[in-house]
Symmetry: C2
Subunit: 150 residues, 2 copies
DNA sequence: TCATTATTGTTGCAAATGCAATATAATAAA
DNA sequence: TTTATTATATTGCATTTGCAACAATAATGA
């Protein structure tokens, strides 16, 4: 069987590291850009849905969002219809930062896919989506404490 | 242009999270399995080469290796011919843990590639290798402080 | 209805992470 | 040879990370 875990890990760590370094000039610290882009694209999203888009621990998200809020990037609003949830909205400051993040990400994406034909790029995107869909099932269940057998 | 960064990030975080949870029964804490497998497969490797195989910060690696050593998983030995480097070797304890890690990783790999034909699996492995080779150039240079233009 | 379970969110604490600065040895350059 | 530069490894410090435990509301079921 082809081995893809290590390559994916290397790529993800390298890309994340690059982004974290480059986003310091936006006064975003480690990991925050992940939340910021998704909140800008999904204003009113709640934390639990955000977890799904990012695949990170609940508590990590709570803390990251607290920091984003205290630094004026987002606002959390309670919902009168459902007191359990808090809807998250980007501030003007976040919307200002957004294009820079996207531009950086697009650049990294282009670097990553250098030498790929349009055809190949589409193909790998589809492959990755399938892999993500495959693995998120186990992620959910292991996070909930279920044991896998192997 | 196809967008692959987010999928890769989600997959990597999910897989890493699963592994970290599952390797607690080996008394390995977050991230340590990464180093352990590579040291078992490359006995005598030095930290600097390990960074290259993993894509992580120097200082993070130092600390992870210190912990692995203090917990009896590895040994670091100075080289008489080159006093700058320290060769890293797995202990018996590490070699005992190794097969479990591999088995878990192979399982995750199989889950990730569920529904892929042999042909597709090979194809994505090659794609990922190309992407990793593309991105590691930027990783090295950004880590060294060079600014990218975009 | 009322009890049980699931969902959503937060905190305590211990640990990992990573930038910046440092140290030391090896190599290159002057 | 002496100086400058590069390679390798470590540490200080501030921060993020994440399991476990908790809290509060909502949804389900008996």
């Amino acid at each position: 069987m082809a081995e893809i875990l290590r390559e994916i890990g290397m790529i993800a760590r390298a890309l994340d590291s690059i982004s974290n370094i480059e986003f310091k000039e936006l006064e975003l610290t480690k990991g925050q850009y992940l939340y910021l882009v998704r909140i800008c694209e999904n204003p009113g999203i709640i934390q639990e849905q955000l977890l799904d888009l990012i695949k990170v621990d609940r508590s990590t998200a709570t803390r990251a969002l607290q920091k984003l809020e205290s630094h004026g990037f987002i606002e959390k609003m309670g919902d009168p219809g459902n007191k359990k949830i808090k809807k998250i909205y980007p501030t003007e400051k976040a919307r200002k930062a957004y294009p820079f993040i996207i531009r950086e990400n697009e650049h990294s994406n282009a670097v990553a896919l250098a030498g790929f034909s349009e055809q190949e790029a589409v193909e790998i995107e589809l492959y990755l989506r399938r892999i993500r869909e495959n693995i998120e099932v186990d992620f959910e269940s292991v996070k909930k404490g279920r044991k896998r057998n192997y």
